[in-house]
Structures are given as C-alpha cells and as structure tokens.
C-alpha cells in the first residue's frame, strides 16, 4: 500500500502502510519472550492510537511532541483494540517535533471493532487474570 494513511482510516489487518504521527505518551521499552517492544500513544489530526515498535534498534524512547513517520507498518488487534505495529520490515523515524496538528479523540484503540473482527489471541486463551498490561486501558 502506498501513500500516507490517516489514523481514522486504519482497519484491522492492514499491511505495509505509511503514516505520520505525533507522540503523546512515549511509553517504555518492555522485554518480551521474543525480544523487546516499545509501546506508545501517538496521534494525528484524525485521532489517537496505541503503537508498538517490535524489537527496536534503539534503546532510548521518543519524547512527547516528536513527529514520527511509520513506514511498512501494520495494524493488529491487541487487548480488544486496534493498534499500529512496526516490525522488522518496517521503520519508525523521528521527522521533526511539535508543529503538527493532532486530536486525542477518538481513541481508536478504545473504539469498538467492526462486527466479525476478533482478537485472535483472545480467542485462543481465556482472559488474563493478573494485574498489569496495557497502560492506556480505560478504567
């Protein structure tokens, strides 16, 4: 897929798209079984969404207000909400800072998914019973 996709046009299971966003919450690196993951909250003029960078090649986090360009990104369902992912075939780079219009709402990761779309992982196993997890989840 070519061209930039605004966040509100993201659909589950999209691949290889590019988008430009601004960092609202830089999140943190977390270790996983397969490496590490950087989760953060990003936004553009059409809404905000959770984003995950898989196995980033850098250890520092971005700053709030950094403008990032995702290339080769994909969408997935994580914890019942839509999430942008950037894997080994993708790229996430800072392009600038501050001067980008954004909107926190709607929070696309909190929006109900279209009918028929499910979180494959949650189909496979029962809901987790312990604390922790997605830091952006609404209470």
């Amino acid at each position: 897929m070519s061209g930039e996709v605004p966040l509100n046009q993201l659909q589950p299971n999209m691949n290889s798209f590019a988008t430009t966003v601004i960092v609202l919450d830089p999140g943190a690196h977390r270790r996983t079984q397969n490496g590490s993951i950087l989760t953060m909250k990003v936004a553009d003029a059409t809404g905000s969404i959770n984003a995950s960078i898989m196995n980033p090649e850098f250890t520092e986090t971005f700053k709030p207000g950094d403008i990032l360009k995702f290339r080769g990104a994909y969408t997935s369902i994580f914890q019942g909400g839509l999430t942008i992912g950037v894997g080994k075939n993708g790229e996430c780079k800072k392009m600038g800072e501050f001067v980008m219009v954004f909107s926190e709402t709607p929070d696309i990761s909190q929006m109900p998914l279209p009918a028929g779309v499910t979180d494959r992982r949650s189909d496979d196993r029962p809901p987790r019973q312990s604390a922790g997890g997605n830091r952006f989840q609404r209470v």
Binding site: P112, P127, R128, N134, V139
Partner: protein, 1062 residues
C-alpha cells in the same frame, strides 16, 4: 544513506540514525559538502576559488564551504583555508556566506553541536573584522537565536563570544549608522541573559559583569537608537536592577534626556517597541505562532511540551517574559483567523504568567503584561492597539474554572479568579510604586486604557469589573485608581496632579523603581505594609498633599458635574416649545425658592397636568425633552449610602415625599385615564431612565408601597417603560435589581419578594434575574425569602422553564449557586424535573449541581423509575465522572429499592438488546431533542465503573445488587446474544464479577439451607448479608478469617477491570 553521509551528519548534530531522519538543511549541508569535496580535491587554491565563483551550482558550493567551517573546530587550518577561499572569491561571495549563516540560524541552530555554533560565531567575528556589508543583520540574528538554548553553559559561552566580537570591534560598532534593530536586540537579549544568570561565586566569574558592562556601553554609545525599544527600554532598565551600570543609565536619562532624543521617561513610555517580533528566537517564534493558530483544544498539551523544552531551566522566567511581550504584539489579522485563535493567544499568555512559581518573577511578568497600559498615552493612538489583550487575560482568568490536570500535561490547575484579582491588585498598587514620580502619568494612562477597553468591549467590560468574583478589597482599590469605571464611587480618590519633580528627586526615586523587579518585588505587592525606616521625602510629601487635595478634588468634581448638568438643562429648556417650555423655565426659576417637598410636588404636578392637557404639538421628542428637564430640575432621589426605605419599613407614609414620586404617581394613576396619557408618561419615564437608571427600581418601590391590591395593574406601567426603552422586561428587572443591590441593599431585600410574586411569568423564563437574586442575597434575606416560598407567597420554579434555569445556573459562581440550590430545596422541586438535566451536567465544571442532585436523590421519597435509571445511564461515561456510580449507589442503599433498581436496569438492558442499540459510547442520536443515543455498551461501561468503585464496602449493597436475579438474567441474555459477544469480551471483568457473585450467592444460599436458615428462603442476598452482619455482631469476629478469604478472591476478580484483560 551511506556511511560517509551518516558520519558527516553526526559531525553536525547528535543523532541516532536508526531512530531519526536528519532535518533537510542538515542533509543538504552534508550532500553539498561531499559534492564540493569531489570537485576540489587535489586542486590548487586558485582552482578552488575558480570553482567557487563559477556560476554553475554556486549556491551548492557555498553550502559545502559552510559545512567545513562548521566542523573545523579541531582543525583551525581548514577554517583558515575556507576563510581564504571566501576572501579569494571576492566581496560578493560573502553575500552567499551571510545567507548561509542565516539559513543555519533559521533552520539548524537548535540541533547542531555547540562546537558548530562556536565556529559559526567565529565566522561572524571574521566578517565583522573585515566589515562585510550587512553583517550587522547577521549579528542581530546571532543574538536572537542565542537567547534560547537548552544548554545554559553553551548559551553563556555563545554570549561571551558575541560580547567579545562587539568589544573587539568597538570602532566598527560605533560607526554603524543604521543599526537600531541590532542595538535593540543586543540590549533586550543580553539583559534577559543577565537577569537569568546566577550571581558570580568567584572573582574569576565575570560573565554577568561583562554582559552588564556591554549593555551599559551599548546604551551609552547608541542612546538615540534606544527609542526603537520604546517602553520596553524602561523594562530593560528594570531588568538591570540596582546595578551601578543600571543606576548610571537612570541618572543619565533623568539628567540628560535630550541625549536620548527624548524629553523624559514619558517619551519612552509613550512609544511601543518597534521590533517586538524579533525579540525571541526563531524556533520559539515558530512554535508560539503554531500554538496560537493551530493549538486549539490541545493548547495545554503543546504548552507542557514547550515548558519542558524552554521554561524549565534557570533562564525560564526571563524567556517567559520575552514570550509574554512577544505574544502581546503578535499580529493576528481578524479577517484571516477565527475568534478561537485570539482566545488561544489569551490562554497561552495566561499559562505563561500563571505557571511560574517565583513571586518576584510573577511580578515581573505582570509588569510585562501591563506595560502597555502604563504607557497608554492618548497622544499616540497606536497605544490603544495593545490594551485589549491584557484586559482579556484578566477576563479569561476570572471566568476560568479549575479543572483536573491533563494526564499528558505538566500544567496544573490554575489560580482562576484569584489570579484575576491579583492582576487587578497589581495594577492598582504599582501605579504609585512603579516609578513614583510618574504615578500621576501612569494613573492617567491606566484610565485611558480602561476607557478604551470599556468602549470596545462594552458588556464584556462590565462583566469583569462588576463581577462578584472580584474581591471587595480589590474593588476598593480599583475604585481609588479607576473612579470613573467602578460604580457607587463614594470613595473615588483621584490623586491631584503634582508638579514635576526636579532632577534630584528623580534621582532619589530611581532606586525604588529598579527595586521593583530585582528580587524585592514584594514591595509592589505590599507597598504600604512595610514603611521604610527613613522617611521618604517624596512619598510623604505626596501622601499628605494627596490627602489635602482629595476633598478639594471631590468638590471640584462635583462642581464640574453640576455645571455640566446645568448647561445641559439650559440647552434642553431652550428646545422646549410653547406653554410647556415657559412653565418649565418658571419651575426651574422658582425651584430653589420653594420651601418643602410638598410645594415642589405641587409645582411638578401642575406642569405634568399642563403637559397632559396641552393641545399644542407636544410630540414624542418634546415629551422626552420635557422629561429630561423635569429630571434636571428635580434631581435624583437616590443618594449615596442612604436607603430609600425609612428606618421603620412598615410605615411608608412619609417615604414618598420627593417630587419624583409625583411623576410616578402620574404614571401609575394618570388623572385623565386614557391610553394617550399612559403612553406619554411611559415615554417620559423611559427618557428619564436613560439619564438615571435607578429610576425604574424606584418605580418598583413606589408601586409596592402605594398600589396595595392594585399593584398587579400598575406593574403594567413598568412593562410599558421596558417596552419604550427597547428592553425585555426580565432584562430590565435583572439590571434594576442588580443596581438596587449595589446602591441600596435594604431596598433590594424589600423589593425581591415583591418582584418574584408579581412578575411571575417573566421571572420564570430567565436565569438572569435569578442570577441577580442569588448573587446578592445575604443570610437574613435568604432566610426571609425561603420563608416566603414555604408560606406559598412565592412560587419560583415551573417545570417547563426549569431545565433552562438550571443549565444557566451552572455557569454562575459557587456562592450564588449555593443560594440557588437552597431556593430549589425550599420550593420543593421534585427530582423528576432534573431528568433532562442529568445527562448534560459536566462532571468537571458543574460540581454544585451534581452534589445537590445526589443529595436530592438521597432524600428522594419515591421508588426509582425507568426514566431516572435511563437518565443516569445516558451520561457519557468518563473515568473521572462518578455521578452515575454515586447515584446508583444511593438508589440501592435500601434493600427494597435495590430489587426495584435491579429490575429497572435489567429491563433497560433487555430493551436495548431488543432495539439492537448495542455498540458505541456517547453516540449522537438522529432524533431531535435527544442529543445522545443510549447503547448497551454505555450501560455496561457505567456498570463496570460502578462494580470497580463500589464493591467491598461495609454494607455490601453493590454485591447484593449485582446478585439480584433480574440483573443476572439480563447479563445472561447479553451473553447469549451473538451481536453482543464483542461487548462480553470487552467487559469481561464485569461479566466475570457477575458470575463470581452469582456463584458466591448460590454457595451462601445452599449452606444456609443446609443449616436450616429460614432467611435463605427470602432469596435476597442483601437480606442474607444483613442478617449475616447482625449475627456477626452478636458472635464477634469468629468468621473473620473466612470472610477475608472470600474478600480476597473477590478482590482479585474486581481488580481485573484495572488490569489487562488479555
């Protein structure tokens, strides 16, 4: 991008190439440098110069040269070689170089290494040494960009280098003819750095001293250029504080103002800064411009980012001051930008001011905000362009309601109306303390500014100065400084203009001026609290002179006013025609010779009778003129600090003796009872009201006191006047009562019950009148008013207009709202009336209404019903909003009601499933009049919030509620509905909790059955738990361990909603 590129980019800036794309100008510097190197490698100097000056790709080559200059800190030979190439390429080639320097200032400065910045300054130094044409503009930009830096040490280093350039080239600097902008920027930016630099710890630390010397030297050598800064030059002198250099300039300015091209300090104050737009760095300029034009509702977030980057360091406060001055002068075209942009500007200025913590910095920022008010001299009309924004900041602060801090923001809640008060106090106090010898001049200018605001803002102006959030103390201070703008000016104290002080006195005044910002700004805040030990000759002389002159001034003012009124009266009399005119002149002539009020009344009545009977051409214009003449002759019945009500309020027999009541009598009971007479009297009263707006509340008082049972008929006269004046009755009533509350609070208390019992229809439909009432009632009046409501003398609220009134009331200040809710409770308004209000109340702002509705629900004496439950769930869920949760908790407290609530919630859930209203939160409805559509997801969201917040409480009513059969069945129906499966997953915590509670209940009931507990037959978990608790009380804490275990299990389930449900 190859390795060579990456290496060169890293020589210019700190960058992680895996996480960041270099800015385009940096990439260009690198690309062009590689291209240049490819062309010049192995070439002789002459050949290189030929390549540089060849027209082909000249621009690109010069950028390549810049790269080598920037990166040659460890290799001075390359630097020298590049200078040699530039010089070899000729004078014109320097033009390209200067353009490139500017490009780097504009696009790359914030990101390049300090060493690169130093190299750039070295290049400027070389250019100055060679007196390159237009280098002064580049030097100005250097000062501009250097004023902002995240690295304080780096900033100091750059400023030292820039200072050295000026000092080494003093001759060049003095010889510059047109360098006012450079002079101004050097003065403002260097002074800001001085103000933010720490005091030297050692004798070797000469940074601050050398910068202060530079500013002093620049001012002394470029005196006439200082006028470019206008009143900001005075701000600079305040910044320099009590340094010897600063005092020397104050003295110089006082003794020899002509050398600065001015006649005195006033000439600086009268002029605005002409280069305000250049005072902050390009980066900061761009970000502020962006915030203003595009920040919108995210302004707080942008501001928190801005603060993190620029305002956290020691130079933060001085940068804020620069930003405030910059923002005030920001040129925003109203044709190009929507009004929200102007609001955003005000919000940013307010944030800049309120988020600084140090008191003395706060004071300086206030001075920055109001500097243009102090200089608002009417001789320079451009000054009026800069007075509205500071007033808008006061207004913004006054109406700001504190909200919870944004999760992404470092900005905490604001000072709101307290800050508005402190701004006004600052204005009032600093008028005399800022520069004592100019206090009269400042007072006049402040009044000019205030007048300009009043003329331009009109209603918005009175909203501020007459706002109930302005403290009484502040109002008194305002009245002293702005006597013409604060009503009921009994203590208006305009200070008489003093003669100009000789130069020696100015010298004495200077230290106190500079002290106002050099860490002792408390002096401005509390000028009278700490009298100086030594008597201050100027101030004491001024004070005594002021006291002496006060009464004279008052007399003078009264005399002037009387003269003006007399003149107006004579003019009007001349315009009156015929017999009425002659009679009026006669009345005026004999007025003062009439003995008492009775004679005067008789004379007035005779004139009125003549008017009503005259057959001459006595048209509307003549009627209005006659009314104004009559009013001029009779004078005003309302006197300062004297109530119209007699001491014995019940005996009004002697109350209506003033001649004005004769006019009112003719209005209410015209001798010729025809429409023509009534119209004429109404026209006259409307004309009189234009001059004296207190007249209509006097009319209300007259109607109340004289009409008795006929008062409902005579009320029509009041309505006629409103109609003639072109105002709505409720509008006029609100303004009359407000004025009455200010002028005569006793009369206000007396009139309010009358108004509310006689103007029912109008009162019911307007929140304005209620606002006036609630803002002005004191405790005794409130008690009396409540008493009248209870005795059914007054019926305040009606169902059809109630929602409008409540939604209007939430915008009022807290105290009037409290009074309003007292009245609601007194009136016995049922909870049913609030159904349409409940979904609309904003949990962040409408605290008073929310608290009171909850209390009403707690005291509610009827069973819950479907409408109430629907209204509660119709609120858009938000994690900070506990209204629905609290309301549910209130409703289920009683075990009988609990069953009913569970049935209603279950019905609602089933209905939503039946209607297929499943997904979405806060969904907009298509149906008119119903802004949002209730969905199952919204109900579940509330219930999840409820279950997480209300379990594990002493009464365990939540668990009881959730275990009720109807609710369990409703949840079961959600589970089996395929379309709602996504909701089951999304709210898995809630569904899990429901299951566990159901299971727990089953276990309880089976164990009780086994033990033969008869209460289990009742099937109510709540009752079981209550009896459990009772037995527990009896048997002590024997079951504690068991209960704790159960609670532990339950708690784990509830915590799920806070955790990852994956």
């Amino acid at each position: 991008m190859n390795e060579q590129h990456a290496r060169r980019i890293q020589k210019l800036m700190k960058i992680n190439m895996k996480a960041e794309t270099p800015p385009e100008p940096i990439a260009r510097l690198v690309t062009d440098s590689i291209s240049l190197d490819n062309r010049i490698t192995g070439k002789s100097d002459k050949e290189v110069i030929d390549i540089l000056i060849s027209k082909e790709e000249q621009d690109s080559r010069s950028i390549g040269v810049m790269y080598h200059i920037l990166t040659s800190i460890d290799n001075p030979e390359i630097f020298q070689k590049m200078i040699k190439f530039i010089n070899g390429a000729g004078v014109e080639y320097w033009h390209y170089v200067l353009c490139n320097i500017n490009m780097i200032f504009f696009e790359c400065w914030p990101v390049i290494h300090l060493q690169c910045k130093e190299q750039l300054i070295r290049l400027i130094r070389e250019a100055v040494r060679q007196n390159v044409k237009q280098i002064e503009n580049v030097l100005m930009n250097a000062y501009r960009v250097a004023s902002v830096s995240a690295d304080l040490m780096g900033k100091q280093k750059i400023f030292m280098m820039l200072t050295r350039i000026i000092r080494e080239n003093e001759g060049w600097f003095k010889a510059q003819r047109q360098c006012a902008a450079l002079v101004s920027i050097i003065i403002t930016s260097t002074t800001a750095v001085i103000a933010s630099s720490p005091a030297p710890m050692t004798a070797q630390d000469t940074f601050r001293e050398s910068l202060t010397d530079l500013v002093h030297w620049v001012i002394k050598n470029k005196k006439t250029d200082c006028i470019t800064l206008g009143r900001d030059f005075i701000l600079v002198l305040f910044r320099l504080g009590k340094t010897p250099q600063g005092e020397d300039i104050w003295k110089d300015l006082a003794t020899n103002p002509a050398s600065y091209g001015v006649a005195g300090i006033e000439d600086f104050m009268i002029k605005p800064n002409l280069i305000q737009h250049l005072r902050i760095s390009i980066e900061l300029d761009r970000k502020l411009q962006f915030m203003v034009t595009s920040g919108g509702k995210n302004t707080l977030i942008y501001f928190s980012w801005l603060t993190n980057k620029f305002f956290r360091g020691p130079d933060g406060p001085s940068l804020r001051a620069e930003c405030v001055r910059f923002m005030l002068y920001m040129n925003l075209d109203p044709a190009k930008y929507p009004p929200s942009v102007f609001e955003t500007r005000i919000q940013i200025i307010h944030l800049l001011l309120t988020t600084v913590s140090a008191v003395h910095e706060q004071q300086f920022l206030k001075l920055c905000l109001f500097l243009d008010w102090f200089g608002c001299d009417e001789r320079n009309l451009i000054n009026y362009n800069y007075v509205e924004v500071p007033f808008a900041v006061i207004r913004y602060a006054l109406f700001l309601t504190p909200g919870p801090p944004h999760p992404n923001s470092i900005v905490q809640s604001s000072h709101c109306s307290h800050y508005a008060n402190s701004l006004l106090e600052y204005l009032c106090k600093s008028v005399d303390t800022l520069i004592p010898v100019l206090s009269d001049y400042f007072r006049k200018n402040l009044n000019n500014a205030m007048k300009c605001c009043r003329d331009r803002l009109q209603h918005g102006f009175s909203q501020v100065l007459e706002n109930s959030k302005i403290d009484r103390k502040t109002t008194e201070q305002l009245r002293a400084v702005f006597p013409d703008f604060i009503r009921n000016g009994g203590v208006a104290l305009p200070v008489a203009r003093l003669k100009k002080k000789p130069v020696e006195e100015i010298k004495q005044a200077v230290p106190s001026t500079s002290a106002s910002q050099s860490g002792s700004s408390e002096k401005i805040e509390k000028p009278t609290e700490k009298p100086s030990e030594k008597p201050a000759p100027i101030d004491s002389q001024r004070a005594s002179s002021s006291r002496q002159s006060t009464s004279d001034v008052e007399k003078l003012q009264k005399k002037e006013k009387a003269e003006k009124e007399e003149k107006d009266l004579n003019t009007s009399l001349k315009l009156l025609r015929g017999e009425v005119g002659a009679k009026m002149v006669a009345l005026k002539t004999q007025w003062h010779s009439l003995d008492d009020d009775a004679d005067k009344c008789e004379a007035v009545e005779a004139v009125l009778q003549l008017m009503l009977n005259t057959e001459e051409n006595f048209d509307d214009a003549q009627q209005e003129l006659a009314a104004q003449c009559l009013q001029g002759i009779m004078g005003c019945v309302v006197e300062d600090e004297k109530s119209l009500l007699p001491d014995n309020e019940k005996d009004l027999s002697e109350a209506f003796t003033h001649p004005i009541y004769s006019v009112l009598k003719f209005l209410c009971n015209p001798p010729n009872d025809d429409d023509c007479s009534t119209d004429m009297m109404a026209t006259m009263l409307a004309a009189m009201r234009e001059k004296d707006s207190s007249l209509t509340y006097v009319l209300l008082y007259f109607i109340k006191g004289t009409s008795g049972s006929r008062s409902r008929d005579t009320i029509d006269c009041y309505k006629d006047i409103a109609k003639m004046s072109g105002r709505r009755v409720d509008e006029m009533l609100a303004s009359d009562l407000q004025l009455c509350a200010i002028n005569d609070i006793r009369l206000f208390a007396n009139l309010v019950p009358f108004v509310f019992s006689h103007f029912e229809e109008e009162v019911m439909t307007t929140p304005d009148l209620l606002s006036t009432l609630c803002s002005n009632l004191d405790a005794i009046q409130l008690r009396s008013f409540v008493s009248e409501i209870i005795r059914e003398e007054i019926k305040l609220f009606r169902k059809e207009s109630f929602t409008k009134i409540v939604m209007g009331s939430v915008e009022w200040a807290t105290t009037p709202q409290w009074v309003f809710w007292h009245l609601i409770h007194a009136d016995g308004v049922p909870i049913e009336w609030f159904l349409s209000t409940i979904p609309k109340l904003d949990f962040k702002n409408h605290h008073e209404a929310i608290a009171n509705i909850l209390l009403m629900m707690k005291r509610m004496d009827r069973e819950p019903w479907a409408g109430l439950i629907r209204a509660l769930f119709a609120r858009v869920p938000h994690k900070g909003d506990t209204f629905t949760v609290d309301a549910l908790k209130v409703l289920i407290e009683d075990s009988d009601q609990c069953q009913k609530v569970s049935e209603l919630v279950a019905q609602l859930i089933k209905k939503l499933i039946g209607n297929n209203d499943l997904v979405g939160v806060g969904v907009r409805a298509t149906k008119k009049g119903n802004p949002t559509k209730l969905t199952l997801q919204q109900v579940l969201e509330h219930l999840q919030h409820f279950s997480t917040s209300c379990v594990e409480k002493k009464q365990r009513s939540t668990e009881s509620f959730m275990s009720r059969n109807p609710l369990q069945e409703a949840f079961a129906s959600i589970r089996v509905n395929e379309k709602a499966s996504m909701l089951v997953r999304m709210y898995s915590n809630l569904f899990g909790a429901m299951e566990i509670i159901a299971q727990e209940t089953k276990e309880h009931s089976s164990s009780r059955t086994l033990r033969g507990n008869s209460s289990s037959r009742q099937g109510s978990t709540g009752d079981k738990q209550q009896s459990q608790q009772q037995s527990k009380r009896k048997t002590g804490d024997t079951d504690d361990e068991q209960n704790n275990k159960k609670r532990k299990v339950h708690k784990e389930v509830i915590e799920l909603s806070d955790s990852d449900s994956d």
